[in-house]
Structures are given as structure tokens and as C-alpha cells.
Symmetry: C2
Subunit: 330 residues, 2 copies
């Protein structure tokens, strides 16, 4: 990756799992961070953080002066973004927002650089980074769609607990510990016990019966792929994994596509690959690649295939994708 | 449940997770066990077992005399069943076989009593109990099918580790313990690490790309439902839960079926129900009910619905279904 000119960057939500991963990815990709403004509520009593070889004092969200900041990454929830992103943009700070606040705003590009980097125009000040599951899904669908139109997608996700943040990860560990000690696991962060369980509820339930997470997966995928009519039926499920989302995908195409051809398409597309060894969430964790596997003909429909795909929800699903967007800015 | 006349029963695989659950279910259902022959290889040095209020000596598979046994439950793998079931039947012992050995044999009924109890004729000596995931699936599909013909099913399972037996359960616990102690988890029983992971490989891979487990789910469901042409596209995934299988099901029907009508059908069918609280594997564990939830319209296809269903793989998925078959025998 090319080193960029030295910059001042901010991460709003610097102490969260995604914020910390953005720091790591910036370092890995040789992003020249001259000055760093880590922004966090500091509610765990934390006052400073170490990154880019130095220790930096945390700034409270209300105290940030965005005027000297080149790029700010937002990953502290939609309400924080709704409040601060307009202020940041007003001050000339470019923003990569990794919350739901602006993703479906028709004036804001929703970008997965391998798919729609061209949406980031030279004067773009605000770009949204999509939902982690939507990113894994579209990274696997885009190479197929480039070759053959898609009729319909039925997908079921296996979403790791880190997608719900640091406190959810602690809750998983505490529930496992309680279980080992024959104590009743406490349920506070996630809606149901997640240790030794699978919970098909992510986000609020909508009147349609789908959840907010499922709606995001559908609408964001349609926007990223620029296929507003693409038919997607989602079931989003939280599972007791820590990092790495997996999706079981059934795709009905409008023309034939042999599994072997799908493999070629994945292997030749950037950011995605195919593994003959069945890829699992643990294989995805720590990698920037989205990995498809187990592609097979679906004998029940002409032109349908079924496959499995995994990706690191913190990296390509959030931090890496956000940093790639920042690279497009600069 | 009616108490039956006192009987001599055998369980081949008595010390396994399903064998132990069969003992429990027999006790719960007031099955009058006069004499019990627990059959096990005793490879963990175990010589006796306690059940039905007494302690019984384990018999090795090769030493069983089936002539005095009224009903034998087999749950010790297909090769043991292939060897011993014919001998048992020859001696006039009725057999409930919970392995793959005879399930697809056209002369052997494959029975889920709520669906096809009539297949157990008065002179039936051998009845097969289906795969645990197939049972949960067909229990949820049968009430719908009775009302509206089904065009196609796309399903993704979340299968608990107990479905792979006691050693797999130990492996899950050991891997979690190793992880807590920052040691590398050992992988011996299951094909990949299961703690904090999801593994879409259950059983050998077939040339089609599907696994043996996926093939079982399709073929057994078709046989039980007496719908040999029913289209089912399966993905079977092992997840780090202990007990309770879940399935995300998308059903295309040949006529309209409102979600509310599906709920009525489930609530009025025996052995299955519907919960407005989202049912999870932990909710199913310990129950004999198969519980559907989250039914919703699928807007991408006329007459399609999507739902989630859970069942205890050891009970209704194996032991309870086996004992119900034995009750039909007697």
C-alpha cells in the first residue's frame, strides 16, 4: 500500500472494537498519521490510548475541533454520527461514517471500494461504510453479477458477537464462565443468552417481521450493487463466535453459471477468493479477504447455485473497508 | 402417556448421549421396563449403568441375546446396526433403529409418528428413526404441506454439537477451556475447531458438493413426507451450541399461505407449536416440542414465506421420536 502524505486523523469511537481495528489497519497499510485525535466517551475511566507508536489523550465527543482534521472515522453509533458528522464536514473534515446514520441517504455514497470506488468523487466529504454482513454478501455477489444477472438471493447469516461491540464480547465470555461454574448466565447487552445459543434477532423487529439488521442487509446491498430491485430474502442470526461473519447464500441467476465459473470469477476479483478447504469464521478472522467456499449446483432451479462465504466483520466488514475509503479520499 | 405392559428392552449405544436420553424419555413416559439390557462397548472402562431405578451390567454388542428382548433401540452407529439389527429381528425382537443403516431401505418405514404413524403396520419388526435435522424440518413442513402444496424449500441448519455425540461435546468444552488458557485448541473428533466457530461440514463430502448430512436431510424428508419430488436445497452447519438444532427455512408454496395461517397450522398440529417470542436452541433444549418462530412473508416470490424453527436434537430429534415409535409397536 502506498504511504500517504502525513495527515491528522480522528477516530470517533476510538476505544471500541472497530475503532481499535481501524488504528491497526491504518498502521498496517502505512497510512502516515502525523497527528491522531482519538475520540471516546471514556466511560470505562480510560483517559488515553496508545497507537501509531505514541500515547494520545482521549477527547470527549463534544470537545472535538474538526477544523484541523483531514479525515475522521466515525464508529460510535448513529446518534453520535448524526450529531457530529455535519459539524465535521462543515469544518472541511472528510468523514468515513461506519454507522447507519447516512448509509441510505441518497446524497451519500455507500462504498465498498472493490465494487463502487467511482462513487467517491473528488469533492466527496462524506462517504458511508456499509453494514458488516452486507459487505461480505456484496463482495461475494458482485463478481457473479458482473457476469450474469441475478434473479433472487436467499441468505442466512452466522454473525459473530464482535459485530455487537466490546460489551457483547465481554458478555459472551462472562456467560461461558458462568456456565462453567454452574451459575445462571446474565443477559444484559444482547437480547438473549448467546453462549451455547443462536439468536435470530439482530436489531429491532420491524412491522414486516424482518429485523432492522435484515433490512440493512437488503437495502444496503441493493445500493452498493446499484441494483435497487435485486431480490434478497435475509435471515440474520447471531452465533457464539467472536470474530468473522459467515453467510449461506442461495442465488438464482437469470442465465446458467457453472460452479467452476463462479470459482474463477471469485478468484479473479479483488478482495475476494475461493477456498477448496471449507472456509470458517476462524479462517476469516484477521484476514482482509472475503473467502467463498462450498459452491455447488442447486438442482431445484435452473441456473441456481448455493455457496458459503466468510469475512472478518471487524476488518473488511468495517475497519479495512473504512480505511480503503479514506485512501480513495486522499 | 399410557403405561405399557412390562417389557424387556435393550438400548444399543446405552452410554451415548442419545442412549441416555432414551432411558430418560422411557422413564418420563411411564414405559414399564421390566428388564433392561444396556448394550455398549464400554470403551471408557464403564461396566454398569443406572436407569429405571436399578443398576444394570453393560453387555458388549457381540454378547447380546435378542431372543428375550421385546424392543431394542439402536443408536451406536450404522455399522453396529448393519451387523446386529438383522440378528435381533430374526430372534423376534422389534427394533427402532436410529442410525443411517436402514433409513433409505424401501422396505423399512422411516417414521415421525405425528406425520406417518400409519407406516408402522402391526407386523413391523424394524422401523427407522430419521436424522435429527430432518425430523425438525419435517415437523415444521408437514402442517404447511397438509394445507398447501410446496414448490421448493431452501434451508440452512444450525446444528448443535451433541448431534455428533458425547466425545464431540467434550471436545467443545476442552476447546473452550484451552482458549481461556491461551492454549491451542485440539481438534480430534469434529473436522475443524468448533469452539467460537461455525463449520459447514457434517459428514463426508459427496461428488455433488453436498455433504452426507445434507443428502440425508433431503432424502429422508422426502421419504417421511411421502413427497419423493419435493425440492429441498440444504446447507448443514455445525455451531458451538450443546443441545438444540435450529433451521432457517424459506418455503415457496404453490398457493398463497398467509403467515397468520401458517401459525394456526403449527399451533393446531401435534408436537409442533409457534412462539411469538423468538425460539432459540436453548428454548428447545429439554422440550419435546418443535417450535417455529419468526414467520414472515417473503416479498421476492409470490406465495413464499420464511421462518425459523428449533427442536431438541436429542429428544424429538432422536430419543423421543424413537420411544414414540416403540409405543406404536406395543
Amino acid at each position: 500500500m502506498p504511504a500517504t502524505q502525513s495527515k491528522t486523523i480522528a477516530i470517533v469511537g476510538a476505544t471500541g472494537v472497530v475503532g481499535r481495528t481501524i488504528e491497526t489497519v491504518l498502521e498496517e497499510r502505512g497510512f502516515a498519521v502525523d497527528n491522531y485525535v482519538p475520540v471516546a466517551t471514556g466511560r470505562r475511566g480510560q483517559k488515553e490510548t496508545t497507537a501509531f507508536g505514541k500515547t494520545w489523550t482521549l477527547t470527549a465527543p463534544d470537545d472535538v475541533d474538526f477544523s484541523g482534521i483531514d479525515v475522521a472515522f466515525f464508529s460510535a453509533g448513529a446518534s453520535v454520527s448524526e450529531m457530529l458528522v455535519p459539524k465535521a464536514v462543515d469544518r472541511g473534515c472528510r468523514v468515513v461514517d461506519n454507522t447507519t446514520a447516512f448509509r441510505m441517504d441518497r446524497n451519500v455514497p455507500l462504498v465498498v471500494p472493490e465494487i463502487n470506488a467511482t462513487r467517491v468523487g473528488g469533492d466527496a466529504m462524506l462517504v458511508a461504510c456499509p453494514n458488516c454482513t452486507a459487505i461480505v454478501l456484496v463482495m461475494s455477489l458482485a463478481p457473479l453479477l458482473a457476469a450474469v444477472p441475478v434473479e433472487r438471493v436467499v441468505m442466512t447469516s452466522f454473525q459473530s458477537v464482535s459485530g455487537a461491540g466490546r460489551e457483547a464480547l465481554c458478555e459472551l465470555d462472562e456467560q461461558i464462565e458462568a456456565d462453567a461454574g454452574d451459575k445462571a448466565p446474565q443477559v444484559e447487552v444482547l437480547p438473549r443468552q448467546i453462549a451455547f445459543n443462536c439468536v435470530p434477532v439482530i436489531g429491532d423487529a420491524l412491522e414486516s417481521g424482518y429485523t432492522k439488521e435484515e433490512e440493512k442487509i437488503v437495502e444496503e446491498s441493493q445500493k452498493i450493487l446499484d441494483e435497487p430491485e435485486l431480490k434478497i430474502v435475509p435471515t440474520a442470526v447471531r452465533v457464539p463466535t467472536r470474530v468473522g461473519h459467515a453467510i449461506a447464500v442461495n442465488v438464482e441467476l437469470k442465465e446458467p453459471l457453472a460452479p467452476g465459473r463462479a470459482i474463477e470469477l471469485w478468484k479473479s476479483a479483488p478482495g475476494v477468493t475461493y477456498s477448496d478447504e471449507v472456509p470458517t469464521p476462524l479462517d476469516a478472522a484477521g484476514s482482509d479477504m472475503v473467502i467463498a467456499g462450498r459452491v455447488r449446483r442447486d438442482p431445484t432451479r435452473p441456473n441456481a447455485i448455493t455457496y458459503w462465504v466468510v469475512g472478518d466483520n471487524l476488518r473488511k466488514g468495517a475497519a479495512t473497508n473504512s480505511v480503503q475509503i479514506a485512501e480513495l479520499f486522499l
